[in-house]
């Protein structure tokens, strides 16, 4: 998630990181991490092990992904991913529920 202000709404935090802000804390799948100081983007990032890196010249800050438990995944529940096709049409990975899905990452290099 990239932002020019640390005043990130809970909705924007969820859209940018996949972590929903709920009364019990920051939640993804079945995992909830309490936010004892209440919600702020910086506190949630700290609790989730997300690095915050600021580019001084542009004033932009990027939040890295969570590093809870030392693994890329904290839950086996697949995150929502919304990506375009070549024609710019958005595709929701969750639209494939009910099928087995093999996601293949590749690149033209």
């Amino acid at each position: 998630m990239i932002t020019d202000s640390l005043d990130v709404s809970p909705e924007a935090f969820a859209a940018g990181t996949g972590w929903d802000i709920k009364p019990e804390g920051a939640c993804k799948g079945e995992v909830c991490v309490p936010l004892p100081d209440g919600y702020s983007a910086a506190h949630a990032a700290d609790r989730l092990g997300m690095a915050m890196v600021t580019d001084e010249a542009s004033g932009l800050t990027a939040f890295g992904p969570e590093s809870l438990g030392g693994r890329a995944l904290t839950t086996a529940q697949a995150p929502e991913v919304i990506l375009p096709d070549l024609d710019g049409n958005e595709f929701h990975l969750s639209s494939l529920r009910g099928k087995k899905v093999v996601v293949v990452a590749w690149a033209p290099y």
Binding site: M50, V53, L60, A76, Q77, R97, V101, V103, W106
Partner: protein, 252 residues
């Protein structure tokens, strides 16, 4: 593979990790003329969300949206490449095969190490087994196994991803000089992430080559222009220093 297994309720989704113009991916997608979803991920979201660190990397997700194999090197059967790339790869494979035969004869221990890593030929059969047997397949993991087997991520590696996102954003906005230091930081903090490296190397390599069909496969300095190369590493040097078993780690 998609056409073979879709009657069993399996779909393939291909995702191109390329931050530049979608046109960079178009010739490959059109050569394959896929009947499955074929998507673009210019921000490398799959790296952050699933722990993808190289290409090809594959993730299996079941009917309920539960990951049953985390990101790992994998090859669906059959390559559908553009003709010009097929020819390039055939030439390269012949060179690699000749080199491997030479190493086999002179340094059997090194040869054994180079043969390590994921078994390309067995991978499609693992997918077929899961398509037929679902959760009963020996290749389907439990949720706890999936989390434990997912790519490692330390706070430093989270910072590497943040630097990559800044680099990606700045490059895309046309601020090339501001992007380069963030690419280098991403590479230092996530040294095992080859998509972060190859993405950056290929952007500048493509510029140096003046574009063209194979421009993005230039992932190092031009001879004699080493001082102009803005990155700490390059593909030839780093891949030569990496045992084959580490480049595509064995997970099956």
């Amino acid at each position: 593979m998609h056409e073979e297994l879709s009657p069993l309720g399996l779909t393939v989704v291909t995702v191109s990790l390329e931050l530049s113009d979608p046109e960079a991916s178009r010739p490959f997608i059109e050569a394959a003329s896929p009947t499955h979803p074929s998507l673009l991920d210019p921000r490398h979201q799959l790296d952050a969300l699933f722990g993808v660190v190289n290409i090809p990397n594959v993730v299996w997700i079941d009917e309920d949206g539960v990951i049953v194999r985390p990101a790992e090197p994998g090859w669906p059967p059959g390559d559908d490449y553009p003709d010009w790339l097929r020819s390039y790869l055939d030439d390269r494979d012949a060179t690699i095969a000749a080199k491997a035969a030479e190493v086999e004869a002179t340094d059997p221990e090194l040869a054994a190490r180079m043969r390590g890593g994921q078994d390309r030929n067995a991978y499609p059969d693992a997918i077929r087994d899961w398509a037929r047997n679902g959760a009963a397949s020996e290749f389907a993991m439990t949720p706890d196994q999936v989390v434990a087997a997912s790519t490692g991520r330390s706070p430093d590696e989270s910072a590497g991803a943040a630097h990559f996102e800044l680099a990606n954003h700045l490059w895309t906005a046309g601020d090339r000089d501001a992007a380069i230091p963030h690419f280098n930081q991403a590479h230092r903090l996530q040294p095992d992430n080859w998509t972060y490296k190859r993405q950056a190397w290929s952007l500048v390599g493509n510029e140096n080559a003046g574009g063209g069909e194979l421009g993005r496969f230039n992932q190092g300095p031009l001879p004699g222009a080493e001082d102009d190369w803005p990155f700490d590493g390059n593909f030839a040097a780093e891949s030569a220093a990496t045992p084959a078993g580490d480049y595509y780690p064995k997970t099956l």
